[in-house]
Amino acid sequence: MDDMEDDTTIISTLRSFNSLISCPDRSVLEAESSYGRSDLQKLYTKRVEMEEAASRIRSHTSLLQLTQEKQQMELSHKRARIELEKEANSSSRDLQREVDRNRDFLMKIKRLDEREEKANQALREQIEKNKTLKRNIEELQKKANEKDLKLAEGEQTIGELKDETRRLNQQIQIQESKFSTQNLEIQALQEQLDVQNQKYQNVQSSQSTSTESELKIKELERRLALQEQDSVIVKNMKSEVARLPEMEREIKRLREENTFLRETKENSSLLKEETEGLRRKLERMERVIEEKLKLELEKEKLEHELQAWENIGQVTGLNIRKPEDLSREVIQIQQRELTLKQQNYTVNSSIRSVEKARAELIPEISQLRAKAQEEQKKRENQDSLVRRLQKRVLLLTKERDGMRAILSSYDSELVVSEYSPQLTLRVKEAEDMLQKVQAHNAEMEIQLSKAQEEAGTFKLQAQMVAAELEDLREQLKSNTETSTLATAEENATLRQKIEELEAERQRLEEQNNILEMRLERHNLQGDYDPVKTKVIHLQMNPTSIAKQQRAEEVEQLRAECQRLRDRLRKMEAGGAMSTDDTTLIIPPSQEILDLRKQLESAELKNQRLKEVFQKKIQEFRTACYVLTGYQIDITVENQYRLTSVYAEHMEDSLLFKSTGPVGTGSMQLLETDFSRTLTGLVDLHLFHQKSIPVFLSAVTIELFSRQTVS
């Protein structure tokens, strides 16, 4: 297959080559033909033929070349095929690799697809979100627009409110101006009031004078009453004076009686003194008698005693006749007592000395007793020894007797010689016994010697100990001597140490004090040891209750604040819509209260002014009525009705209407039933003279004359 293809390619290349060669020739041929065909045609044809031959040759050569080339080509082709095969192999390998890679890529692609899908999904979600967000934004924008609109409305309302405030300010200014005018009026009124006050004061002063005069009158009345009383007293006095001579007589009589009585009184006092003296004497006498009785009794007693003494003297046989004898006797007895006492003392002293001797003897006795006991013990020991020795003696005598018997038997046996073996046995036994006894004795001796040795060693030990004790005593003495020198240094160091320790102790004490103070302070501040103590209090104590209440209050206030804020917001949103469904009543602010007060006071002033005005107007009207003879009423605006004092009927009145601007004072008479009757006066005074006052006075005169005439 490949060869075929290669051939075709070569052929195709040849054809293309030929065509390529032929083509320019033709063009040249054509170009040449255009210039001169006739002469040149032959040349040209020859040339062509030559050239064709040449070209054939050339083509031959070229063919050869081509065949060569073909061979070469084939060779190269083969080489190329081999190479291609190699390449194909490699390429197939590559392909395989590529396929593998492709698979990998496919896998990757799949993964990427999946990712893409996910991403797409995310994207979709994101888009949806975006949409929603956009919607939200739109809504928010709408809201913002609405808010803006509301804001604009609010601004409008603010503007309106500002206008209103301006208007209100103007009104306030007007009100203020009114106030100022009213104030002026008030001042005028106050002046009047002052005048009135002055009058009132005058009245008061007159009243005070009247009260003073009343007081005077009262005082005078009182004096009159006093005088009346005095006159009564005087009358009484007069009657008493009339009785005076009688009284004097009586007094004389009484004086006489008095003197008589005084005399009798003196007499009686003398008698009394006498009786008193007699009574005292009597008492004294009685006392003397009692004493006498007592003395007699004593005398009897003494006599008895004397008798007793005499009896004693007789009984005892002593020569006691007088008290001297008795004293002598007593002295003798006392001397005897003294001697006896001396004897007693000597006896006592001897007893004491004996007792001392006894006390000295007691220890001796005890010593002797101890000795006696020792002696007794010794004796007992001796007795026991004696007993033991006696026993031994007995044993030995028995043994000796036995030995003797044996010896006697020996002696007898020597004769008989039958008992020799027995005797030898016994001797042996005795010898054994002796040996045993001797061994025992030796042992005992050894033990004794041992004991003696031990005693000796103990004695030596005791001596050594005593020597050591002596040495120690000596050492102690030497020590006491030597230490005085050696311990001086030690002492110094020890003192230093003590001082240091003292210093440290002081420092520690100070620290301790400081710490105690701190502890005290802490204790004062209320600190405590949590190991030992705990702090407790009632759950519902006043502090926590108060705190709770406070918190609640704060909460309430916060809620109220929130409510008010909401309300304010609503107000702002709703503009002038002051109607609110919440029944909250805002307490009026201080300003409003002040304004209200001002308003009230202003109204009050107004009221007062109105009253005053009414009064004044009434006064003015009556004055006008009386002075001009006309009552002027304002029926309608700009119309004035005049009714004369002298009118015949109540309804007889004149009507005037003011024309033109207010204040110019141009008036026109309107036709009434009454004015129709006064056409003459109207013509004369109004049309000719053009004077209303003249007309009115003419009417007055007319009516007056009519009344007086009638």
Binding site: R521, N523, L524, Q525, G526, D527, Y528, P530, V531, K532, T533, K534, V535, I536, H537, L538, Q539, M540, N541, P542, T543, S544, I545, A546, K547, R550
Partner: protein, 202 residues
């Protein structure tokens, strides 16, 4: 009250001390203006006129605390009673009235009455309350709204009764302390003192 003219028992002592606290706390509340002066009424005790509250809530609270305190005094488990005055705005402790109680625990075993007359004890109590009244002269003015609390320092092993709870000591930051007089019933000794917050001017 088991008052005898000659001596005093543990029970009588607890009663006396609790009574003192009742009057002392009332005096502090009146003197320091924790409650308005018009809610207090004048009574005569310890031969002197004292102020007692008429506020029912406060009365209930005080009787509650005092009856409990009496029990603890009888058990000798109470160490301190503290009246804490707190500022309501800042929750800061401004004053602490501390009454240290020293119990003679031997009196629990021996019920024999001690040799001290009621009159002498009341004399001491009177002087303590006089001092409380006099402290107004140097204590700083309480300018803000204040409330008070009663803390009781007890032994650690005491069981906390219902309605009671443990609390902090409520100490004053930077305080000045002043010791007041003390009195003793020979069973309970009460040392009084007041600590107050140091003001900036000092």
């Amino acid at each position: 009250m088991s008052k005898t003219l000659k001596g005093i028992t543990l029970k009588g002592s607890a009663e006396l001390v609790a009574e003192f606290f009742s009057f002392g706390i009332n005096s502090i509340l009146y003197q320091r203006g924790i409650y308005p002066a018009e809610t207090f009424t004048r009574v005569t005790q310890y031969d002197m006129s004292l102020q007692l509250t008429t506020d029912t809530k406060l009365k209930n609270y005080l009787t509650n605390v005092i009856t409990q305190l009496k029990e603890w005094l009888f058990d000798c488990t109470v160490q301190k009673l503290v009246v804490v005055i707190t500022c309501l705005e800042t929750n800061e402790v401004l004053e602490r009235w501390q009454f240290d109680i020293e119990c003679d625990k031997t009196s629990k075993e021996s019920s024999a009455p001690r040799e001290k007359s009621i009159k002498a004890i009341q004399e001491e109590i009177r002087s303590v309350i006089r001092q409380i009244t006099a402290t107004v002269t140097f204590l700083p003015l309480l300018e803000t709204a204040c409330a008070f609390d009663l803390l009781i320092y007890t032994d650690k092993d005491l069981e906390v009764p219902e309605q009671w709870e443990e609390s902090g000591p409520q100490l004053i930051d930077q305080s000045e302390e002043v010791r007041l007089r003390s009195f003793t019933t020979s069973i309970h000794k009460v040392n009084s003192m007041v600590a107050y917050k140091r003001t900036d001017s000092m």
